[in-house]
């Protein structure tokens, strides 16, 4: 089947690739049975390109040659340095996508060409366009960009029969989204969406890192902010501590010989209580709760009218989040989805639907942003030339086409400037300008000559704008996705060749650390089981797989043996 369309969750911390087959979506595993690919790209000592776990593992050794959380820079003009050259965020993301594409080729035994890629609902036009470009650089035809919380709801839909209102709380590594979704009669309708593009689990890590830095200054009088390797170790410890605090009231942050001070070694040993950690992250959590209120308000719902809450993204394992949600919603109403995998699974469902496969749910998504233009009007009781005039309000189902009539102000006015904005502020200048053009050659009519501005927004968030003089039909139009693109066609081809070459240079698959084939087989068997077991068993299996992978890469033989035997027991139990 050459028309098959895979689903990709291109996350801040982790990425996955999934496909819909035999009537259900499944996440594809690599040659070692791993289904989660850390979104980390690095150059090894020998100049070899590493993507995923291997890249993450060398972060401690070569932080300066390792790139993490590139998603946070998508849509910016930032360049990141890797080896001896600079790359755009699109190119780094393309390396992750290329690796996923390779995983799928090996797992399916045939190449994949088309993909649905997910983005946070609150991603801007520029960020979506950058994601699309990353796909193209990786040699993928991106048939659709869909929103992460919506993808999660699509997975959940399968089990639903009667109408329900769902709140999807999606806190990933770098972004936060909340969506209110109505599921009824086989249709998943997004009612409203809100979020923050720069809030995620990474910020929790940073808070712990700051805390450690303060401690080091206070206790040892040492500042490691400009020591990349020490910082990498602290960052990694902070991540581990964060995870521990999800299950334990205390976490110990220990790094021996972290650095030197006056020729003497500095050992880091610090205990962090969950209570203190929660104080650090409380402002972030309160911000997410604020976003929930905005989303509920736009959906005209109160908290008590929400039937279920879906938690998506690894950071939602934070106990404080679960506790605060119970406080806000009165009781626990949690729908079960796998917070790490449901986005990729949902993307695969959408991919299958677009490829023409009959799937359980039809998706109706909305625009999270308002699009409009500027005109003379009143702002704070004064005449102001750049009042924002919304044409497509946020939370309008897409695709959609809307128009609005405007009027010339002067007699014989032959030109109008049309500016297009994205945002919510009544002052257009406070919103993001997406494009502008001038309509010239209007008839020399008295003031009040009608000009119709028409906006059409498609399912990919691409905006077509036209302005037409009603009396004569004179028209000018632009497509905004071109206005925002960082690449033209030639540059895209060039980037694709460059990134493709990086992958061809390396030996296929097993350039990685020595492998233990019995252990690989066990991991593969475990991940194959994931789809058929209960959610509880599934999360236990995933935890064990994670532990084994961490122990293996960290050369922790005791932990490895223990997790291996636990996993064996669990699989045995599941089979009998």
């Amino acid at each position: 089947m050459t028309d098959e369309i895979v689903g990709i969750d291109l996350g801040t911390t982790n990425s996955e690739i999934a496909i819909y087959r035999n009537g259900r979506p499944e996440v594809l595993a690599d040659e070692r049975g791993r289904i989660i690919l850390p979104s980390v790209v690095a150059l090894s000592e020998t100049g070899e390109l590493l993507v995923g776990e291997e890249a993450r593992n060398q972060y401690l050794l070569y932080p300066e040659r390792t790139i993490r959380s590139i998603k946070r820079r998508m849509g910016t003009n930032d360049q990141v340095r890797l080896g001896d050259r600079d790359y755009t965020p699109q190119e780094i993301s393309a390396m992750i996508l290329s690796r996923l594409k390779e995983i799928a080729r090996q797992a399916l035994g045939r190449p994949v060409q088309k993909a649905v890629i997910t983005v946070p609902a609150y991603f801007s036009d520029a960020q979506r366009q950058a994601t699309r470009e990353a796909g193209e650089i990786a040699g993928l035809e991106v048939v659709r960009i869909i929103n992460e919380p919506t993808a999660a709801a699509l997975v959940y839909e399968a089990a639903q029969h009667q109408g329900k209102r769902i709140l999807v709380y999606d806190l990933g590594g770098g972004t936060f989204d909340v969506s209110v979704v109505r599921i009824e009669g086989g249709v998943v309708e997004v009612i409203s969406s809100h979020g923050n593009n720069h809030l995620g689990g990474d910020d929790f890590d940073h808070k712990i890192v700051e805390h450690v830095l303060d401690h080091l200054k206070l206790k040892h009088g040492v500042d490691i902010a400009d020591q990349p390797r020490a910082m990498a170790r602290v960052t990694r410890s902070a991540e581990t501590a964060k995870k521990q605090l999800s299950d334990h009231p205390f976490a110990r942050i220990q790094e021996e010989y972290l650095t030197e001070q006056d020729g003497k070694p500095v050992n880091l040993d610090l205990e962090l209580a969950r209570h203190d950690y929660e104080e650090m992250i409380a402002p972030f959590i309160e911000e997410t709760l604020g976003a929930i209120h905005i989303a509920l308000e736009s959906a005209n719902l109160t908290a008590s009218q929400v039937d279920e809450i879906l938690l998506v993204g690894g950071a939602t394992r934070t106990p404080m989040i679960r506790r605060r949600l119970v406080e806000v919603f009165g009781k626990e109403r949690r729908g079960e989805v796998d917070p790490d995998l449901c986005v990729a699974l949902g993307a695969a469902i959408q991919g299958a639907a677009m490829a023409g496969t009959e799937v359980s749910a039809v998706l109706v998504d909305v625009t999270p942003y308002t699009f409009g233009t500027s005109a003379l009007g009143e702002l704070n009781d004064e005449l102001y030339p750049y009042c924002f005039i919304p044409i497509i309000p946020r939370n309008t189902p897409i695709p959609v086409r809307r128009s609005e009539v405007f009027f010339t102000v002067k007699d014989a006015q032959t030109e109008v400037d049309v500016k297009i904005f994205q945002g919510e502020n009544p002052d257009a200048m406070e919103n993001i300008q997406l494009g502008e053009f001038r309509v010239t050659g209007l008839s020399k009519a008295p003031s009040g000559n009608q000009v119709i501005i028409d906006l059409a927004l498609d399912r990919d968030g691409i905006l077509q704008v036209s302005a037409r003089e009603k009396a004569t039909g004179l028209e000018r139009r632009i497509t905004i996705d071109k206005a925002l693109s960082r690449y033209d066609k030639g540059q895209l081809d060039e980037a694709r060749e460059r990134i493709g070459a990086l992958f061809d240079e390396q030996a296929p698959a097993d350039s990685v650390a020595a492998s233990d084939s019995a252990l690989d087989a066990l991991l593969a068997k475990a991940s194959n089981k994931l789809d058929e077991v209960s959610a509880e068993d599934r999360s236990e299996i995933i935890d064990l797989i994670e532990t084994i992978r961490d122990a293996r890469s960290g050369d922790n033989d005791a932990a490895l043996e223990e997790a291996r035997s636990q996993l064996q027991d669990l699989l045995f139990y599941l089979e009998t």
Binding site: G185, A353, L376, G377, C387, F407, T408, V409, V418, G448
Partner: protein, 124 residues
């Protein structure tokens, strides 16, 4: 615009539940992905008649086109004669006028609905 009742294939006395059921069935048949144009028609129709108040507005607009067109044109004139030095002018006055006319019509037709907040519909 196409007649929303015809687009959805319901009679004018259909209630909210029936209209919603019909809308969802049609969306399944013509999803935004595969039938974007048809979906937009369905959505526009559903937004026009999805609840009682909207149905009333739609019917009023349909029966009072002449009067509304006249009002609309005069509002245009009023809004456009200031002669201020800028490029384009928002049609705010126009919309407010239409909203006011509708509110009056609805109050007359269904007094029990008149206390409802107008919500966001007439805004900006």
């Amino acid at each position: 615009m196409l007649d929303p009742f015809t687009v959805l294939g319901v009679t004018e006395d259909a209630d909210d539940a029936e209209i919603r059921r019909r809308y969802l069935a049609l969306v399944r048949e013509f999803p935004p992905d595969r039938a974007p144009e048809r979906f937009q028609e369905l959505r526009a129709a559903y937004e026009a008649v999805g609840d009682e108040r909207k149905r009333l507005e739609t019917k009023l607009l349909r029966t009072n086109t002449t009067a509304l067109t006249r009002l609309y044109m005069s509002a245009l004139q009023a809004g456009a004669t200031d002669g201020l030095p800028s490029d384009a002018r928002a049609p705010r006055a126009t919309k407010q006028t239409i909203t006011a006319v509708l509110a009056e019509g609805i109050t007359k037709a269904m007094p029990e609905l008149s206390h409802e907040d107008r919500g966001k519909q007439g805004g900006r």
